[in-house]
Symmetry: C2
Subunit: 223 residues, 2 copies
Protein backbone atom coordinates (compact mmCIF):
# COMPACT_ATOMS: atom_id res chain seq x y z
CA UNK A 1 0.00 0.00 0.00
CA UNK A 2 1.66 3.29 -1.06
CA UNK A 3 2.13 5.90 1.65
CA UNK A 4 0.39 9.24 1.50
CA UNK A 5 3.01 11.54 -0.12
CA UNK A 6 2.11 14.34 2.32
CA UNK A 7 2.81 12.24 5.45
CA UNK A 8 6.33 12.04 6.95
CA UNK A 9 7.00 8.48 5.66
CA UNK A 10 5.54 9.55 2.30
CA UNK A 11 7.92 12.49 2.12
CA UNK A 12 10.81 10.19 3.01
CA UNK A 13 9.85 7.80 0.18
CA UNK A 14 9.58 10.73 -2.21
CA UNK A 15 13.07 11.90 -1.28
CA UNK A 16 14.47 8.38 -1.56
CA UNK A 17 13.01 8.11 -5.08
CA UNK A 18 14.67 11.40 -6.03
CA UNK A 19 18.04 10.36 -4.56
CA UNK A 20 18.07 7.06 -6.43
CA UNK A 21 16.92 8.72 -9.67
CA UNK A 22 19.66 11.32 -9.40
CA UNK A 23 22.29 8.61 -8.93
CA UNK A 24 20.97 6.68 -11.97
CA UNK A 25 20.77 9.81 -14.15
CA UNK A 26 24.35 10.75 -13.29
CA UNK A 27 25.61 7.23 -13.96
CA UNK A 28 23.72 6.41 -17.13
CA UNK A 29 22.42 9.71 -18.52
CA UNK A 30 18.80 10.82 -18.17
CA UNK A 31 17.62 9.48 -21.57
CA UNK A 32 18.84 5.98 -20.70
CA UNK A 33 16.96 5.64 -17.40
CA UNK A 34 13.36 4.34 -17.43
CA UNK A 35 10.84 4.52 -14.57
CA UNK A 36 10.88 0.71 -14.40
CA UNK A 37 14.64 0.77 -13.82
CA UNK A 38 14.11 3.33 -11.05
CA UNK A 39 11.40 1.21 -9.40
CA UNK A 40 13.59 -1.92 -9.66
CA UNK A 41 16.58 -0.13 -8.15
CA UNK A 42 14.41 1.07 -5.24
CA UNK A 43 12.78 -2.33 -4.79
CA UNK A 44 9.29 -0.78 -4.97
CA UNK A 45 6.39 -1.50 -7.33
CA UNK A 46 5.72 0.56 -10.46
CA UNK A 47 2.40 1.50 -8.80
CA UNK A 48 4.12 2.92 -5.72
CA UNK A 49 6.53 4.96 -7.88
CA UNK A 50 3.60 6.18 -10.00
CA UNK A 51 1.84 7.25 -6.81
CA UNK A 52 4.65 9.75 -6.12
CA UNK A 53 5.63 10.73 -9.67
CA UNK A 54 3.21 10.10 -12.50
CA UNK A 55 5.75 10.45 -15.31
CA UNK A 56 9.51 10.54 -15.79
CA UNK A 57 9.15 14.21 -16.76
CA UNK A 58 7.97 14.96 -13.24
CA UNK A 59 11.02 13.26 -11.73
CA UNK A 60 13.36 15.24 -13.98
CA UNK A 61 11.56 18.50 -13.24
CA UNK A 62 11.74 17.83 -9.46
CA UNK A 63 15.50 17.20 -9.70
CA UNK A 64 16.05 20.40 -11.69
CA UNK A 65 14.00 22.21 -9.04
CA UNK A 66 16.24 20.72 -6.32
CA UNK A 67 19.40 21.75 -8.19
CA UNK A 68 18.23 25.32 -8.68
CA UNK A 69 17.20 25.53 -5.00
CA UNK A 70 20.59 24.21 -3.81
CA UNK A 71 22.59 26.51 -6.05
CA UNK A 72 20.31 29.38 -5.09
CA UNK A 73 21.04 28.72 -1.41
CA UNK A 74 24.80 28.62 -2.07
CA UNK A 75 25.01 31.76 -4.21
CA UNK A 76 25.51 34.86 -2.08
CA UNK A 77 22.76 37.54 -2.04
CA UNK A 78 22.80 40.54 -4.42
CA UNK A 79 25.37 43.11 -3.35
CA UNK A 80 27.56 40.50 -1.56
CA UNK A 81 31.29 41.22 -1.52
CA UNK A 82 34.10 38.74 -0.85
CA UNK A 83 36.23 39.65 2.18
CA UNK A 84 39.32 37.68 1.22
CA UNK A 85 40.69 34.93 -0.98
CA UNK A 86 39.63 32.22 1.49
CA UNK A 87 35.99 33.35 1.04
CA UNK A 88 36.33 32.93 -2.71
CA UNK A 89 37.84 29.50 -2.33
CA UNK A 90 35.14 28.23 -0.03
CA UNK A 91 32.32 29.53 -2.22
CA UNK A 92 33.84 27.98 -5.36
CA UNK A 93 34.32 24.66 -3.63
CA UNK A 94 30.66 24.49 -2.58
CA UNK A 95 29.45 25.48 -6.06
CA UNK A 96 31.61 22.95 -7.88
CA UNK A 97 30.36 20.27 -5.48
CA UNK A 98 26.74 21.13 -6.32
CA UNK A 99 27.48 21.05 -10.06
CA UNK A 100 29.09 17.63 -9.63
CA UNK A 101 26.09 16.29 -7.66
CA UNK A 102 23.79 17.27 -10.56
CA UNK A 103 26.21 16.61 -13.40
CA UNK A 104 23.58 14.84 -15.53
CA UNK A 105 22.00 18.28 -16.10
CA UNK A 106 25.13 19.61 -17.78
CA UNK A 107 25.05 16.81 -20.32
CA UNK A 108 22.01 18.28 -22.00
CA UNK A 109 21.40 21.75 -20.67
CA UNK A 110 20.03 23.13 -23.92
CA UNK A 111 17.85 20.07 -24.41
CA UNK A 112 16.27 20.64 -21.00
CA UNK A 113 15.79 24.31 -21.78
CA UNK A 114 14.24 23.57 -25.17
CA UNK A 115 11.79 21.03 -23.70
CA UNK A 116 10.77 23.15 -20.73
CA UNK A 117 10.67 26.92 -21.06
CA UNK A 118 10.14 27.49 -17.36
CA UNK A 119 13.21 25.40 -16.52
CA UNK A 120 15.15 27.43 -19.08
CA UNK A 121 14.18 30.66 -17.38
CA UNK A 122 15.16 29.33 -13.94
CA UNK A 123 18.54 28.16 -15.22
CA UNK A 124 19.12 31.51 -16.92
CA UNK A 125 18.43 33.21 -13.58
CA UNK A 126 20.89 30.97 -11.73
CA UNK A 127 23.52 31.60 -14.43
CA UNK A 128 22.99 35.34 -14.14
CA UNK A 129 23.33 35.10 -10.35
CA UNK A 130 26.60 33.21 -10.83
CA UNK A 131 27.98 36.11 -12.86
CA UNK A 132 26.84 38.50 -10.11
CA UNK A 133 28.56 36.35 -7.46
CA UNK A 134 31.74 36.48 -9.57
CA UNK A 135 31.42 40.28 -9.66
CA UNK A 136 31.08 40.22 -5.87
CA UNK A 137 34.38 38.35 -5.70
CA UNK A 138 36.16 40.92 -7.89
CA UNK A 139 34.57 44.02 -6.36
CA UNK A 140 35.04 42.76 -2.77
CA UNK A 141 38.76 42.11 -3.28
CA UNK A 142 39.11 45.45 -5.11
CA UNK A 143 37.41 47.37 -2.27
CA UNK A 144 39.74 45.71 0.24
CA UNK A 145 42.65 46.85 -1.91
CA UNK A 146 43.76 43.29 -2.68
CA UNK A 147 42.83 43.33 -6.37
CA UNK A 148 43.59 45.95 -9.01
CA UNK A 149 41.48 46.02 -12.19
CA UNK A 150 39.52 48.48 -14.30
CA UNK A 151 35.74 48.27 -14.65
CA UNK A 152 36.12 46.74 -18.12
CA UNK A 153 38.53 44.12 -16.76
CA UNK A 154 36.17 43.27 -13.90
CA UNK A 155 33.29 42.80 -16.36
CA UNK A 156 35.32 40.40 -18.52
CA UNK A 157 36.77 38.60 -15.48
CA UNK A 158 33.34 38.05 -13.88
CA UNK A 159 32.07 36.40 -17.06
CA UNK A 160 35.15 34.22 -17.35
CA UNK A 161 34.89 33.13 -13.71
CA UNK A 162 31.29 32.04 -14.31
CA UNK A 163 32.08 30.14 -17.54
CA UNK A 164 35.05 28.26 -16.08
CA UNK A 165 33.22 27.44 -12.82
CA UNK A 166 30.04 26.26 -14.59
CA UNK A 167 31.65 24.33 -17.47
CA UNK A 168 34.92 22.99 -16.03
CA UNK A 169 33.47 19.58 -15.18
CA UNK A 170 31.85 19.27 -18.65
CA UNK A 171 35.17 20.17 -20.25
CA UNK A 172 37.09 17.64 -18.18
CA UNK A 173 34.71 14.80 -18.91
CA UNK A 174 34.68 15.60 -22.66
CA UNK A 175 38.47 15.63 -22.61
CA UNK A 176 38.88 12.42 -20.62
CA UNK A 177 35.77 10.38 -21.50
CA UNK A 178 36.90 7.28 -19.60
CA UNK A 179 38.31 8.91 -16.48
CA UNK A 180 36.18 9.47 -13.40
CA UNK A 181 36.79 13.17 -12.75
CA UNK A 182 35.01 13.45 -9.34
CA UNK A 183 37.18 14.81 -6.51
CA UNK A 184 40.24 15.71 -8.56
CA UNK A 185 38.01 17.36 -11.19
CA UNK A 186 36.40 19.59 -8.58
CA UNK A 187 39.72 20.62 -7.01
CA UNK A 188 41.12 21.41 -10.45
CA UNK A 189 38.00 23.48 -11.25
CA UNK A 190 38.45 25.59 -8.12
CA UNK A 191 42.15 25.96 -8.99
CA UNK A 192 41.42 27.07 -12.57
CA UNK A 193 39.06 29.79 -11.35
CA UNK A 194 41.54 31.03 -8.73
CA UNK A 195 44.18 31.24 -11.48
CA UNK A 196 41.82 33.59 -13.38
CA UNK A 197 41.76 35.94 -10.39
CA UNK A 198 45.48 35.68 -9.51
CA UNK A 199 46.87 38.05 -12.20
CA UNK A 200 44.78 40.89 -10.79
CA UNK A 201 45.92 40.47 -7.18
CA UNK A 202 48.66 42.60 -5.67
CA UNK A 203 52.05 40.80 -5.61
CA UNK A 204 51.94 39.44 -2.01
CA UNK A 205 48.34 38.29 -2.35
CA UNK A 206 49.10 36.72 -5.69
CA UNK A 207 52.02 34.68 -4.38
CA UNK A 208 49.97 33.63 -1.36
CA UNK A 209 47.08 32.52 -3.56
CA UNK A 210 49.24 30.65 -6.05
CA UNK A 211 51.02 28.79 -3.25
CA UNK A 212 47.77 27.85 -1.53
CA UNK A 213 46.21 26.80 -4.84
CA UNK A 214 49.16 24.54 -5.69
CA UNK A 215 49.13 22.91 -2.25
CA UNK A 216 45.39 22.33 -2.36
CA UNK A 217 45.64 20.84 -5.83
CA UNK A 218 48.44 18.42 -5.05
CA UNK A 219 46.64 17.31 -1.87
CA UNK A 220 43.33 16.72 -3.70
CA UNK A 221 44.84 15.09 -6.74
CA UNK A 222 47.14 12.94 -4.68
CA UNK A 223 44.42 11.84 -2.21
Amino acid sequence: MPQNPKSAPGRRTRQRILDVTLALYNEQGEPNVSTSLIAAELGISAGNLHYHFRRKDELSAALLEQFVAELDALLPPAGWRADNVEDVWFLLHLILEALWRYRFLFRDLSGIMARDRRAGTRLATVFERSVQAARGICLGLAERDQLVATGVEIDALSNNIAVVALYWLSFESARHPRRDVAGAGMARGVYQVLMLVAPFLKPEGRLHLERLAQEYLSREEGG
Copy 2:
Protein backbone atom coordinates in the same frame (compact mmCIF):
# COMPACT_ATOMS: atom_id res chain seq x y z
CA MET B 1 15.24 7.72 -59.37
CA PRO B 2 17.95 8.36 -56.74
CA GLN B 3 21.42 9.24 -58.02
CA ASN B 4 24.40 6.99 -57.39
CA PRO B 5 25.96 8.48 -54.22
CA LYS B 6 29.47 8.01 -55.67
CA SER B 7 28.75 10.09 -58.84
CA ALA B 8 29.22 13.89 -58.87
CA PRO B 9 25.45 14.66 -58.73
CA GLY B 10 25.14 11.97 -56.02
CA ARG B 11 27.83 13.65 -53.94
CA ARG B 12 26.10 17.00 -54.43
CA THR B 13 22.80 15.55 -53.19
CA ARG B 14 24.56 13.97 -50.22
CA GLN B 15 26.11 17.31 -49.29
CA ARG B 16 22.79 19.13 -49.74
CA ILE B 17 21.16 16.62 -47.36
CA LEU B 18 23.88 17.26 -44.78
CA ASP B 19 23.58 21.06 -45.11
CA VAL B 20 19.79 21.02 -44.63
CA THR B 21 20.06 18.56 -41.73
CA LEU B 22 22.66 20.75 -40.02
CA ALA B 23 20.40 23.80 -40.35
CA LEU B 24 17.42 21.88 -38.92
CA TYR B 25 19.46 20.41 -36.04
CA ASN B 26 20.76 23.86 -35.09
CA GLU B 27 17.29 25.38 -35.25
CA GLN B 28 15.25 22.70 -33.53
CA GLY B 29 17.74 20.46 -31.71
CA GLU B 30 18.78 17.04 -32.98
CA PRO B 31 16.22 15.02 -30.96
CA ASN B 32 13.35 17.05 -32.45
CA VAL B 33 14.26 16.49 -36.12
CA SER B 34 12.95 13.36 -37.91
CA THR B 35 14.13 11.98 -41.25
CA SER B 36 10.69 12.72 -42.72
CA LEU B 37 11.07 16.39 -41.76
CA ILE B 38 14.49 16.42 -43.45
CA ALA B 39 13.08 14.83 -46.64
CA ALA B 40 10.15 17.30 -46.66
CA GLU B 41 12.48 20.27 -46.19
CA LEU B 42 14.63 19.06 -49.10
CA GLY B 43 11.62 18.29 -51.29
CA ILE B 44 12.89 14.72 -51.92
CA SER B 45 11.25 11.36 -51.23
CA ALA B 46 11.94 9.32 -48.08
CA GLY B 47 13.35 6.66 -50.46
CA ASN B 48 15.89 9.05 -51.95
CA LEU B 49 17.00 10.19 -48.48
CA HIS B 50 17.25 6.56 -47.35
CA TYR B 51 19.42 5.81 -50.39
CA HIS B 52 22.06 8.23 -49.05
CA PHE B 53 21.61 7.78 -45.29
CA ARG B 54 19.86 4.71 -43.99
CA ARG B 55 19.20 5.99 -40.50
CA LYS B 56 19.20 9.32 -38.63
CA ASP B 57 22.22 8.03 -36.68
CA GLU B 58 24.22 8.01 -39.90
CA LEU B 59 23.31 11.64 -40.64
CA SER B 60 24.34 12.70 -37.12
CA ALA B 61 27.59 10.73 -37.34
CA ALA B 62 28.42 12.31 -40.74
CA LEU B 63 27.86 15.81 -39.32
CA LEU B 64 30.04 15.10 -36.30
CA GLU B 65 32.68 13.80 -38.72
CA GLN B 66 32.41 17.05 -40.72
CA PHE B 67 32.72 19.16 -37.54
CA VAL B 68 35.81 17.31 -36.34
CA ALA B 69 37.39 17.58 -39.82
CA GLU B 70 36.71 21.35 -40.01
CA LEU B 71 38.03 22.03 -36.51
CA ASP B 72 40.99 19.78 -37.21
CA ALA B 73 41.83 21.82 -40.32
CA LEU B 74 41.57 25.08 -38.35
CA LEU B 75 43.66 24.01 -35.36
CA PRO B 76 47.35 24.67 -35.90
CA PRO B 77 49.76 21.69 -36.09
CA ALA B 78 51.62 20.37 -33.00
CA GLY B 79 54.47 22.66 -32.03
CA TRP B 80 52.81 25.74 -33.61
CA ARG B 81 53.59 29.10 -31.98
CA ALA B 82 51.62 32.35 -32.32
CA ASP B 83 53.69 35.21 -33.77
CA ASN B 84 51.60 38.06 -32.43
CA VAL B 85 48.25 39.03 -30.97
CA GLU B 86 46.67 39.38 -34.44
CA ASP B 87 47.43 35.68 -35.07
CA VAL B 88 45.61 34.76 -31.89
CA TRP B 89 42.63 36.87 -32.79
CA PHE B 90 42.26 35.40 -36.25
CA LEU B 91 42.55 31.82 -35.01
CA LEU B 92 39.96 32.41 -32.28
CA HIS B 93 37.57 34.02 -34.70
CA LEU B 94 37.71 31.03 -37.08
CA ILE B 95 37.27 28.54 -34.24
CA LEU B 96 34.29 30.34 -32.70
CA GLU B 97 32.70 30.48 -36.18
CA ALA B 98 33.07 26.70 -36.56
CA LEU B 99 31.57 26.10 -33.09
CA TRP B 100 28.64 28.33 -34.02
CA ARG B 101 28.06 26.46 -37.31
CA TYR B 102 27.78 23.16 -35.39
CA ARG B 103 26.16 24.55 -32.27
CA PHE B 104 23.64 21.66 -32.06
CA LEU B 105 26.56 19.45 -30.98
CA PHE B 106 27.23 21.52 -27.88
CA ARG B 107 23.68 21.07 -26.69
CA ASP B 108 24.29 17.43 -25.92
CA LEU B 109 27.99 16.71 -26.10
CA SER B 110 27.95 14.09 -23.36
CA GLY B 111 24.87 12.44 -24.84
CA ILE B 112 26.68 12.06 -28.17
CA MET B 113 29.74 10.71 -26.41
CA ALA B 114 27.71 8.24 -24.36
CA ARG B 115 25.85 6.90 -27.43
CA ASP B 116 28.93 6.65 -29.64
CA ARG B 117 32.29 5.79 -28.08
CA ARG B 118 34.22 6.46 -31.27
CA ALA B 119 32.70 9.94 -31.54
CA GLY B 120 33.64 10.52 -27.90
CA THR B 121 37.25 9.63 -28.61
CA ARG B 122 37.40 11.96 -31.64
CA LEU B 123 35.92 14.84 -29.65
CA ALA B 124 38.38 14.21 -26.82
CA THR B 125 41.20 14.44 -29.35
CA VAL B 126 39.92 17.74 -30.76
CA PHE B 127 39.54 19.11 -27.21
CA GLU B 128 43.08 18.08 -26.38
CA ARG B 129 44.34 19.73 -29.58
CA SER B 130 42.49 22.92 -28.56
CA VAL B 131 44.42 22.99 -25.29
CA GLN B 132 47.65 22.48 -27.27
CA ALA B 133 46.74 25.36 -29.63
CA ALA B 134 46.12 27.52 -26.55
CA ARG B 135 49.60 26.54 -25.28
CA GLY B 136 50.99 27.55 -28.69
CA ILE B 137 49.41 30.99 -28.19
CA CYS B 138 50.99 31.41 -24.74
CA LEU B 139 54.40 29.95 -25.60
CA GLY B 140 54.62 31.84 -28.91
CA LEU B 141 53.92 35.21 -27.27
CA ALA B 142 56.32 34.32 -24.43
CA GLU B 143 59.13 33.41 -26.84
CA ARG B 144 58.61 36.73 -28.65
CA ASP B 145 58.92 38.47 -25.30
CA GLN B 146 55.37 39.83 -25.45
CA LEU B 147 53.96 37.70 -22.64
CA VAL B 148 55.39 37.04 -19.17
CA ALA B 149 54.18 33.98 -17.25
CA THR B 150 55.59 31.01 -15.33
CA GLY B 151 55.14 27.45 -16.57
CA VAL B 152 52.42 26.85 -13.98
CA GLU B 153 50.59 29.99 -15.13
CA ILE B 154 50.82 28.96 -18.78
CA ASP B 155 49.38 25.53 -17.94
CA ALA B 156 46.39 27.06 -16.15
CA LEU B 157 45.94 29.76 -18.81
CA SER B 158 45.95 27.24 -21.69
CA ASN B 159 43.17 25.25 -20.03
CA ASN B 160 41.13 28.38 -19.34
CA ILE B 161 41.52 29.59 -22.94
CA ALA B 162 40.19 26.24 -24.19
CA VAL B 163 37.21 26.19 -21.77
CA VAL B 164 36.12 29.75 -22.53
CA ALA B 165 36.57 29.33 -26.32
CA LEU B 166 34.70 25.99 -26.43
CA TYR B 167 31.87 26.82 -24.02
CA TRP B 168 31.28 30.55 -24.45
CA LEU B 169 28.41 30.10 -26.91
CA SER B 170 26.74 27.46 -24.68
CA PHE B 171 27.05 29.81 -21.71
CA GLU B 172 25.56 32.74 -23.62
CA SER B 173 22.59 30.77 -24.90
CA ALA B 174 21.90 29.31 -21.42
CA ARG B 175 22.04 32.82 -19.99
CA HIS B 176 19.86 34.43 -22.65
CA PRO B 177 17.55 31.63 -23.79
CA ARG B 178 15.45 33.86 -26.05
CA ARG B 179 18.18 35.96 -27.62
CA ASP B 180 19.84 34.96 -30.89
CA VAL B 181 23.52 35.12 -29.93
CA ALA B 182 25.04 34.62 -33.45
CA GLY B 183 27.46 37.36 -34.54
CA ALA B 184 27.59 39.32 -31.31
CA GLY B 185 28.03 36.07 -29.33
CA MET B 186 31.05 35.10 -31.42
CA ALA B 187 32.69 38.52 -31.13
CA ARG B 188 32.13 38.47 -27.37
CA GLY B 189 33.65 34.97 -27.18
CA VAL B 190 36.82 36.11 -28.95
CA TYR B 191 36.93 39.16 -26.66
CA GLN B 192 36.55 37.06 -23.49
CA VAL B 193 39.47 34.83 -24.51
CA LEU B 194 41.69 37.80 -25.36
CA MET B 195 40.91 39.26 -21.93
CA LEU B 196 42.28 36.02 -20.38
CA VAL B 197 45.58 36.58 -22.15
CA ALA B 198 45.80 40.37 -21.58
CA PRO B 199 46.97 40.32 -17.90
CA PHE B 200 50.08 38.39 -18.94
CA LEU B 201 51.11 40.76 -21.75
CA LYS B 202 53.73 43.45 -21.25
CA PRO B 203 52.19 46.90 -20.60
CA GLU B 204 52.31 48.30 -24.20
CA GLY B 205 51.01 45.05 -25.71
CA ARG B 206 48.32 44.85 -23.06
CA LEU B 207 47.02 48.36 -23.75
CA HIS B 208 47.15 47.71 -27.51
CA LEU B 209 45.19 44.46 -27.13
CA GLU B 210 42.58 45.91 -24.79
CA ARG B 211 41.98 48.85 -27.13
CA LEU B 212 41.68 46.62 -30.21
CA ALA B 213 39.39 44.22 -28.34
CA GLN B 214 37.06 47.01 -27.23
CA GLU B 215 36.87 48.48 -30.76
CA TYR B 216 36.17 45.10 -32.32
CA LEU B 217 33.49 44.36 -29.77
CA SER B 218 31.62 47.65 -30.17
CA ARG B 219 31.75 47.29 -33.97
CA GLU B 220 30.42 43.72 -33.91
CA GLU B 221 27.78 44.31 -31.26
CA GLY B 222 26.65 47.53 -32.86
CA GLY B 223 26.49 46.08 -36.40
